[in-house]
């Protein structure tokens, strides 16, 4: 609720610089000098609640998890410090590497699936026409549902014997949706896309609406068609939004848990036992809290690394104008 201000702040960011640039001298105006105010007591006071929350709900548990990863604990007994034992076990079990591979696959697949669709939908919904507003409302519906509810619903719909295929008497829908180790991935990715594309569409819609109309007018005068406008103006202008959305997507995919837990429980077998799920199952079903904590630490490190990596696509100067090339 408090942390990660960077990504969430970004959609506002572009608008901000945009307006500044718009008002200022066009072209190569030097970036606005950052205003540095002396630290005041009121600043500290305002930040205090957020800091306190962050400390209690993010930093402290993180420290605790790191500490636990050097112990052996079954969840109810005494916690024994066993040095690197849990780490050794964690790194030597197949399940860890399998889960890591799956979660990386999950990240790549969700990004490839959701980003193009979100951008297209976002650009489409950015238009001010009435019918597009109506469609926008419909598209955003899945966003209102909780993951657990979505998972339970789809589990019933996809039930091999009593699912929608039987309900509507449509034999071609009668596949082993959740029991086939390949098909289950297509199903999972589709459901996750269905759930989260609306959110990313919302971000892109806002960003596209921020692109000044003058650019499109200029392009039209130069004879650029709609497709050319999309690739030469819309896409480059969405660079920072893409970074924001991608960060959320990548880190989000890294922690997908609820839907998979309810829908497949990691199955069939271990086909969908991605690392975050493996962490939970190892900790709360296998009662191996040491290993589970080590897995959590691995996830945190990968998550931070990926988030920083994606952010670095934005270039070194985060304050640089987006209007370059316009």
């Amino acid at each position: 609720m408090v942390s990660a201000p960077k990504p969430t702040a970004a959609p506002v960011g572009p608008g901000h610089t945009l307006v500044a640039d718009h008002a200022g001298v066009a072209g190569a105006s030097p970036p606005m000098p950052a205003r540095r105010e002396p630290l005041q007591l009121s600043h500290v006071l305002f930040a205090l609640p957020a800091l306190a929350f962050f400390l209690v709900f993010a930093i402290l548990p993180l420290i605790a998890v790191v500490a636990l990863s050097f112990t052996t604990w079954n969840g109810i007994g005494s916690i024994e410090f066993t040095g690197l034992l849990s780490w050794k076990e964690t790194l030597s079990r197949d399940s860890t590497w399998h889960g890591l591979l799956l979660v990386l696959l999950m990240i790549a697949a969700t990004w490839l699936m959701q980003t193009p669709l979100s951008i297209l939908l976002g650009a489409f919904l950015a238009g001010q026409q009435k019918y597009r507003n109506v469609l926008a409302v419909l598209y955003f519906l899945p966003l209102l549902l909780s993951s657990a509810a979505i998972a339970i619903t789809f589990k019933s719909l996809l039930d091999p014997n009593f699912g929608i295929a039987n309900g509507l008497n449509m034999p071609f829908l009668q596949q082993n949706w959740l029991g086939d180790s390949t098909l289950v991935w297509i199903v999972l990715l589709s459901i996750i896309a269905w759930q989260f594309i609306p959110f990313h569409t919302l971000i892109y819609q806002g960003a596209v609406r921020q692109i000044p109309q003058t650019m499109y007018e200029a392009a039209q005068i130069d004879g650029a068609g709609r497709v050319r406008q999309f690739f030469s103006i819309t896409l480059p202008q969405l660079k920072y939004t893409m970074i924001t959305s991608s960060t959320l997507m990548v880190v989000g995919a890294l922690t997908y848990f609820d839907i998979i837990f309810v829908l497949t429980g990691g199955g069939p077998g271990v086909s969908t036992r991605i690392l975050p799920l493996d962490m939970y199952l190892t900790g709360f079903r296998g009662n191996e809290m040491g290993i589970s904590s080590a897995l959590a630490v691995i996830l945190v490190v990968i998550g931070l690394g990926l988030a920083l990596g994606v952010q670095s696509f934005g270039g070194r100067d985060a304050k640089a104008s987006q209007m370059e090339g316009a």
């Binding site: 079954n74 109810i76 709360f284």
Partner: protein, 446 residues
């Protein structure tokens, strides 16, 4: 959506700790909404209990607790949970010091860990003081509640052996009888497949459902002693030849498409496996005795019309196991949390005596189609609507040369989880019988 508003990184960071907190926090206001359990009970004496949801047991326990609360010996607040969710939740709650006063469970390995960590009260002395109470229960129930000669839990509910159920109508259409040997079984599988019904209904995603097949296969092949050695933690006990042979039988079943299509993704908590049987879509189902009651209440008139057949697990040629050997849960158990306050413990003990398994509760179990673990039920069983089934179960329990406890309950929790993972893999053909034996054998050390 939550994932986006609450940034992942903090979720991640909070990791296990926060999850534990959340789970534990849910404990005081979970489904069933009793509220105010856990911590000390300031005023009027009260205690808490968690129970499993689902008919018919949920109704029986609710009634028994309501009746107890009327007695004025204190108030017991009950919260109901789904089976699979409960198993994870209760352990987390105990670890977090948020356990309910009365801890419902299956005895065996799980209870042993609680006892070793002094999380549950030793009830041996209390039972000695109340020997009349103790004598009401059938003798066979105390074994799974005993850790190092001390009794840590009291029996509750009904005896639940695992039974080979069948759909009489489907079998009749196939011109088959309930299978008594392995060859019979394979014949039924074949003819069911060619007739277009599922031979065997199985909710494979729940894993312990597939495990029930392993339990009986191993028993029939190697006898009850093989698992006795495993449960005792004897070196290389899993490497017994009959374990591999058991795995081969599973391979044989899978190769013959014996299990219903899509069994990999069916979960027992939704009872779709039972629905397949009572809706004439499957011929056989190996399941716990408790499903008789839930099919009776949930399966239309299937049970009432006498279409539900039942019998022992088939024997296997050349195998050592007796047709009369049983596996399953001797019964369920209630343990008393060591963390509970004195007043909570008093209420809980009053409930043991005057609420838990009174004659009314025993009668309610008989009505629901199960055999309560109380002595001297012969008459009420004979008078029941389900007399045929109940008397068969009662007889089977009395005569069984061996009654092996469900493996996932008999083993320590970590080994049990490893067992369930490997069981699922075996049924999916992802590990060979040899790998299964080796993976499981690795859990015996340390």
């Amino acid at each position: 959506m939550r994932n986006f508003l609450f940034p992942r990184r903090s979720f991640l960071g909070a990791g296990i700790g926060a999850t534990a907190l959340t789970l534990a926090a849910c404990g005081t206001s979970g489904p069933g909404g009793s509220g105010g359990s856990g911590g000390g009970s300031g005023g009027g004496d009260s205690a808490s209990i968690w129970q499993l949801s689902g008919p018919p047991n949920e109704g029986i326990y609710q009634d028994s607790i309501d009746a107890f609360n009327e007695l004025g010996e204190g108030t017991l607040e009950v919260t109901f949970f789904q089976n699979d969710a409960y198993k994870q939740k209760i352990r987390t709650a105990i670890g977090a010091g948020e356990a309910p006063t009365l801890i419902y469970g299956w005895g065996g390995g799980g209870l042993r860990t609680y006892a070793q960590e002094s999380q549950v009260e030793d009830l041996t002395g209390w039972l000695d003081e109340n020997s009349d109470f103790k004598a009401r229960f059938v003798d066979s129930v105390w074994n799974a509640a005993t850790v190092e000669d001390k009794i840590y839990a009291l029996p509750i509910g009904a005896t639940q052996p695992i039974i080979m159920f069948n759909n009489q109508k489907v079998l009749e259409d196939l011109r088959a009888e309930a299978p008594e040997t392995w060859d019979d079984l394979m014949t039924v599988v074949e003819s069911a497949n060619s007739a277009g019904v599922a031979p065997i209904s199985l909710a494979g995603q729940s894993r312990w459902t597939s495990m029930m097949w392993l339990e009986y296969l191993l028993d029939r092949i190697g006898g009850a002693e093989v698992f006795d050695r495993i449960a005792a933690g004897e070196k290389d006990a899993w490497l017994d030849d009959s374990v591999v042979e058991m795995g081969r039988k599973v391979e044989e079943l899978v190769a013959a498409n014996a299990f219903t299509k899509g069994f990999e993704s069916m979960a027992a908590d939704s009872n779709t496996d039972q629905a397949l049987l009572w809706s004439n879509k499957a011929a056989l189902m190996l399941h716990g005795g408790w499903t008789y009651g839930s099919m009776k209440s949930g399966g239309g008139s299937f049970v009432q019309d006498g279409l539900l057949g039942f019998g022992p697990f088939p024997t296997i040629e050349g195998g050592k196991g007796d047709l009369e050997n049983l596996v399953g849960n001797p019964c369920n158990y209630l343990a008393l949390s060591a963390e509970a306050s004195d007043s909570e413990k008093e209420v809980a003990k009053s409930y043991f005596l005057d609420g838990m398994m009174t004659d009314d509760v025993a009668a309610a179990f008989v009505d629901s189609g199960s055999v309560p673990v109380i002595q001297g039920q012969d008459e009420s069983l004979a008078a029941s609507d389900d007399a045929e089934y109940l008397q068969w179960v009662y007889g089977a329990i009395q005569e069984a040369p061996a009654f092996t406890q469900s493996w996932d309950q008999a083993l320590q929790p970590t080994a049990a989880e490893e067992l369930l993972v490997n069981t699922e893999q075996l049924f999916l053909g992802k590990v060979t019988p040899e790998q299964f034996a080796e993976n499981m054998n690795a859990t015996l050390e340390g």
